[in-house]
Amino acid sequence: MNWLAAAVLVFLGAFGGQAQAHAFLDHAEPRVGATVQAAPAKLTLTFTQDIEPAFSSVKVTDSQGREVDKGKVQVQGALMQVALGALGPGDYTVTWRVVSVDTHVTEGDFVFHVAP
């Protein structure tokens, strides 16, 4: 029985760690789906693990599909930031794609609103 218990622990242990195997979006600023009163000057995305700057990107577009971010994405650890142009009231879509340091790719999108 000791062997079996050890075996169970071993394998739960070895692969329990893989729950964090991909970099998922932990939270964003402006928040996902939020309506903000003042137009934000930058977008900040925080992921569940460190990401590779060379292969991670984010784009913010307005309801007409025009890109409103300033393009220069900064990545530090699990944090990704991009400066935004002057945003008028309306809906904005954030589309991101990141590669985690353990090489997995995740992507996603969400919307935030700037109140009139």
Binding site: L4, A14, G16, T103, H104, E107, G108
Partner: protein
Amino acid sequence: MDLIVAVRTIHIGASVIAAGAFAFGFLVWPREPQADEVREAMSRWLRRSAGWSASIALLTWIVWLALIAATMAAASPNLEVLKTVLARTNFGHVWMLRFALGLLVLIELRTRRSATASAAPHAFGTVAALLFLMSLAWAGHAVGSQGALRALHLTVDALHLLGAGLWLGALLPLCFVLQRARAAATSPWLTAASAATTNFSSLGVIAVLTIAASGVVNTSLQVDTLAALVQTQYGQLVSAKIALLALIVALAGYNRLRLVPKLQAGGADAERDSVAGLYRNALLELVLGAAIIAIVGLLGNMAPASHLHEEGMQHMSH
């Protein structure tokens, strides 16, 4: 099946076999002088096994790089992409280090063609082959751990791989010795098989303890994910793995408690019977071990679905 899964599985298997071939020569093969014919046959077999497995490991490592580069860039991997991956990503840095270690292993095999299966000449190669296997941890999920736990997680994974290399990897050459002893039934091969089995048995205990200890530490780091492991497809694969390992440990326990003492006690009939039994069990353990490695290759690509956040729409494309 995903190509990356197949490549990862073959790579892990080949790395384990290469490390095992060296570890066997260094730790399992008896120190006592063996008959020339036996020593030479074993030495030749170990060199060939290490050479083939290390070559396959290096080739699959190159394919792995190409596949990862394609995934990262979401495009076919041209030279520019490869350069960026190698120079600017964690995987790229680990890739270069492991490639160098793999080359060292092959160079060692080339330059020591005349080496015997005795311990001393293989120390350098053994270290390189074991580091090659252990450094695989830096290409895996542990590297994604956050904060202070990262170093611990990496160390634990590296030890886990070391345990697998020592145990599963050295099992293949042991099968060769047992098969020879069974087929030849001449006393030099039986003597060698008996001594090697005894050494392997001790090594096996250390390897299993290493695997268990690294697993326990890892579990204590990750308890919050246990529920997800039970409920998902991922969890079911892990359960299959646990069952496979339990079978291997049961077989190993039977070998150690029943067959090895019988072999050591001597007597021609008892020796023949126990060698035949050990050979059969070792083959079975190898098959189960290969299945475990295949599951490891598969799990490497997955993340439990329960981990998906509420933060907008997001998905994994790899």
